[in-house]
Symmetry: C2
């Protein structure tokens, strides 16, 4: 079946298969054999396109973080007015877009978060992403709060978002997106209400 230009197709297939596998059996039991079977290809293909299992895992994490950032950016881009409230609401909503994408993305994200503590390459990805989100939030809060308040509010909002997601990933009943978004919005409102001077 060798047609030309299979690389992007195979890469996409394998990344998708990796997420599905992690969702179904967990990262610990996700072997190259499982991924390959799920993608309908042989094990050798993984080393061929990603250099090895680690390369595939890193590419998968990159994809997830990339999609997440994209979903926030899209919502920020279509804002009618450039208000702090609007941007912060976009960040909250964009971050819970993930769950629309599915359970498999949530579980994969959490699995990577846990393992990134001991894998430098994943840790760097994670850290860069975190700082970008934090900066983004902090910058918007700065429009209404002083430096220290803004930093605190940003830490709080980032933690609330991750916490809601974390609990949603594990809860047997799944995540309640509506409630999560509402809690995020409420937190934004309460922080913005702490304005020092009008």
């Amino acid at each position: 079946m060798p047609k030309l230009g299979m690389e992007p197709i195979r890469r996409q297939q394998l990344i998708q298969a990796t997420m599905t596998a992690i969702d179904e059996v967990g990262l610990a039991d996700t072997t190259v054999a499982v991924i390959a079977r799920k993608a309908g290809v042989s094990t050798g293909i993984i080393s061929h396109y990603f250099g090895g299992k680690d390369g595939l895992l890193e590419a998968t994490m990159r994809r997830i973080l990339g999609d997440l950032g994209e979903s926030v950016r899209q919502r920020q881009a279509i804002l009618e007015q450039d208000t702090a409230r609007g941007h912060l609401r976009a960040i909250v909503e964009g971050n819970f877009d993930r769950s629309q994408v599915s359970q498999s993305v949530m579980k994969t994200w959490l699995a990577f978060w846990a393992t990134s503590m001991h894998k430098p390459s994943l840790q760097r990805l994670q850290h860069v992403n975190d700082r970008r989100l934090h900066s983004n939030i902090c910058y918007q809060f700065r429009r209404h709060l002083d430096h220290e308040q803004a930093r605190s509010a940003a830490s709080g909002l980032a933690a609330l978002i991750d916490g809601l997601w974390l609990r949603g990933a594990l809860a047997p009943e799944g995540i309640n997106i509506t409630r999560a978004v509402t809690l995020g919005h409420e937190y934004v409102e309460e922080q913005l209400a702490n304005t020092t001077a009008p």
Copy 2:
């Protein structure tokens, strides 16, 4: 060296060694050989006292969740007055208790959280613990808020606490306990301020 009554000593040693190992090399690379070496015993001892590696991991998670609950309970027990605010502050502070915030405990907790998604025995532990904390928080908020408000506030506070932990576990600079506790307290105050009727 066989003295009598080694069991509790060995169990403690091995649980501690497990946490240290997970902190240092990650759960994925934590083999029985690594744990045994770290505890200064042979690999056979693990199967002897815990039935196998899984038994040891479950016991370790039990210990962490138990310690966490204990630290909250202690702070609630020494409250002078039985106020919702006091209990909620105790919950926040207990969750950021020094013993809970050591790097090894944080990393171990997060590693277990991620893997519990696919291990029924760990999942049950995790879920029981979560529900207890949620009930505890919800009950206190109910003293000032209506049912729906209390549920939301409880979800938010639980998520905020877990999120702060999660980010603290991963951040290269570690967790800022003072800030975390302050953010928790502030969230409690803001929720209590939403009282419907005096």
